[in-house]
Structures are given as C-alpha cells and as structure tokens.
C-alpha cells in the first residue's frame, strides 16, 4: 500500500543493494539491550563449549586470546530496522574454537549463552566455515562494554540479536532450541534478506 505523501529519503542509492528490505542506514552504532550492561573483568572471564549439558572445554581470557585471530569487515542489520555498513571486527572464528576443543560438527544447532542470562540460537552451518567469530575487538579497539565487551558473538549475516553480547559459551544442541528473543516472538533464524523478524515471518 502506497502511503499518501511519503517519498522517503532513499539516499545513498549506490549502496542500495547492500540494504535489506525495511532497513535504513545509520552512521552511528546504536545500543539496544534488554537489561543492565554487565561489568565483566577479563580476569574473571571464561568461555565454555558444551555439547548438550556436558562441558567439553573452557578457556580463560588469556587462553582464549592466544587462539588464532580472524578479522572480518561486514554490514550488520538490526531487527529494529537500522543497518550499518563496513563494520570491522577481530576475534576468534568458531571454527578455531571447535578445532582447539578437538570437535568438528557435534550437532547441527547451537545456543550462545551470555553473562547477563541472554541466549540465542544459531545453526552450526551459520557459525562454521568462517561465517562467525567471537569478537574481541571493534574497529581495532577492545570491544566497548555497551557493545558486548569483553567478547560478543558476531554472526553478521543474521539479524544482529543473534550476535549475542557478553557471550560466555556455546552449547551444541540436538534440536533447534529457542533463545531469549526467540521465546518472545522473534524469528528462530533471522535472515534479514528475507525479513525474518518475528515468529511467523
């Protein structure tokens, strides 16, 4: 339905093919969080890999920081409708985390768990083969606390609620189990190019 009198900004058309439907470009980096911003001292930080209920391996901050590093520059898309282009990240690829634990493909699904109790589900296929990292740096600097520091998951090809802030573990699951927002009406997969915002989209 055409909205009477609306033309929209529609600027930056050279980048139009990078902006999914219903999204608009921002230059700033909005912060959206459902609760308080946790304070996590790297000295207390751990990252735990689980298969089902069973912990397979845990890393301290210093152990995690000597894993191989991956850099990626990607466009990101928030379900609240902003998109940001060319964001530069550095961290540890999920592939390298799995390799360090001696795992290949434990199960087809995973839940990311976080210090604030948040969780979100992502299929293994969207974490592995270089698609996702646990980010430790943004634009060359340690990840700011309100953007998930010291570490967040980065799955840039899905809506950004999948890129869980303050991540402290990955749990592989037999079934695709809903996380925090997925239990509260948001889509199980969250592909921005198919506008998978809410449960039945």
């Amino acid at each position: 339905m055409v909205t009477r009198g609306f033309t929209g900004r529609q600027s930056g058309s050279e980048q139009l093919d990078r902006i999914p439907p219903g999204q608009h470009l921002v230059d700033n980096f909005p912060v959206l969080t459902a609760g308080p911003t946790p304070r996590i001292d790297p000295a207390d930080w751990t990252f735990t890999l689980k298969v089902g209920p069973r912990p397979v391996k845990a890393w301290s901050w210093s152990e995690f920081n000597v894993l191989p590093r991956t850099r990626m520059t990607r466009d990101i898309h928030c379900v609240t409708s902003w998109s940001k282009l060319n964001t530069a990240w550095e961290g540890v690829a999920v592939d390298d985390i799995l390799a360090d634990a001696g795992l290949t493909a434990p199960t087809p699904f995973a839940l990311a768990h976080c210090y604030d109790g948040y969780s979100t589900n992502v299929p293994l296929a969207d974490l592995a083969t270089g698609k996702a990292i646990v980010a430790l740096k943004y634009e060359g600097q340690p990840l700011p606390r309100d953007h998930g520091g010291p570490a967040r998951l980065l799955v840039p090809h899905l809506y950004f609620w999948k890129s869980a802030k303050w991540v402290n573990g990955l749990q592989f699951t037999e079934r695709d189990e809903a996380g925090f927002w997925e239990l509260r009406g948001y889509h199980m997969y969250g592909d921005p190019w198919n506008e998978q915002r809410y449960t039945n989209d």
């Binding site: 909205t3 929209g8 609760g35 308080p36 509260r184 009406g185």
Partner: protein, 248 residues
Amino acid sequence: MTEAIAATARWQRCTIVEIATRTPAIKSFFLRLSETFDHAAGQHVDVRLTAPNGYTAMRSYSIASAPSDSKVIELAVERLPDGEVSPFFHDVAQVGDMIELRGPLGGHFLWPGSSNKPVLLIGAGSGVVPLMAMIRHRKASGERVPVALSLSSKTWGDVLFRDELLELEMSLPNFALALALTRERATRRTDFSRRIDARMVADVAARLPESPGCAFVCGSNAFVEIAVDAALALGLEAGVIKTERYGA
C-alpha cells in the same frame, strides 16, 4: 505470549482518526485498527511507510494507550530533525490517512501483571510512552500496586503527557510522580532541576511504600546506563531491571 504475538503480527491497515500536539516536538497519533489486537502495556508496533516506487521505511513505536477493547491505539511520535519517518508523521500525515502497521510486538518490556511489589518507572523524553501505557493500564485495571515515575524532560513544556500525569498524581492512589527538568528550573518542590543521577533515583524510589520489586527504564542509551546503575545501587537484581534504549 509468544503465541499471541505470532497470531497477531500480521500487517494491517489502520486509519489516523486524530492527531494531538503534545509538546513542541511530540504529537500523538490515534490510529483505528482494522483488526483489533490485545496488547500488553509496554509493547510496540512496527509502522511501515511505502513510497510510490515501492521503497519502504519501517520504524517501531511504543503504544501509549492502555490495553482495552477499543480499536483505537495511541502512538506518540517525536519529530527527529534528521528523521525519515517522524517528519512524515509530523509534517505530512493527516486525519483520514491510512497507515500500515503490525503488532503488538515485544515480549519483555511488559507490565508485570501479577506483581504486588512496587514498580519503579524511569523515563526520559518520549521514553515515557511505554511507561505511560503501564500507568494508564494500572489505573484502568484498578490494580493497586504502588508505582513511582521519574520523568526527565528538557523543559516544563517538553513534559510529554504532563497534564494527565499531574492529574493522576492527584487522583490515583499510590502513584508518585517526579519530574526532572534539565534546561529549566522546576517550580514544584517535588521535582528536580537537573539531569538524572543516583541520588534522584534513590529519592524517587523512597516515595514508594516499600522497595521496588522491578524497574522499567526507557530513554537514550546514556540515560538508561545512569538510571540502571542507580537502580542496581538500590539493591535491585539485574534480572528485574528492564530497559528500552533508543538507538543513539
């Protein structure tokens, strides 16, 4: 909740039936739904505008009205100078226009229906909108849970829903109101003439008959960070502090 959202999150056309200027920067838009929905206080809708060439712009707006059987919901839209959708609403939209929206959405920032513990509401500017839905709901439902609202605005004239809030402060039992003006002196003794800080939040919480059981905070990220730290300092658990932040 999840099922309710899934069942009602279809796009629908609604009609603007009334536009009310609330403050110099904020107007309320009363929209008649074509499909009634049953929202919870604190939820939002997504609004979609479509240009003649098919370009669409989508934004989320909190619902200001209390849940009711009415087919009309109220959205309060602040005009952002660099905005794309809010200037359309302020400068172009007229009574009788059709708007597409879907909702109700959001399953977290929700009025705690069964709680008897006092509720602390902290908002800034148009961040009071979902909190207003909660206050209106508490009034309409006859619930007695004590509520305190701390609302920061630039000036007296910028206080969204000011007259209604002042009236509720007089008429609604167990409702405490504290306005904070950041660019003007407050004239009421119970208000503040400064930006939010931990002392202010503690002062407002102390107007409740007992410690709050939960807190809802809505505003800019910087505002929310200060308010949340203050709520944590009062002894609230992180899990009972719910936040909504404007992106900036």
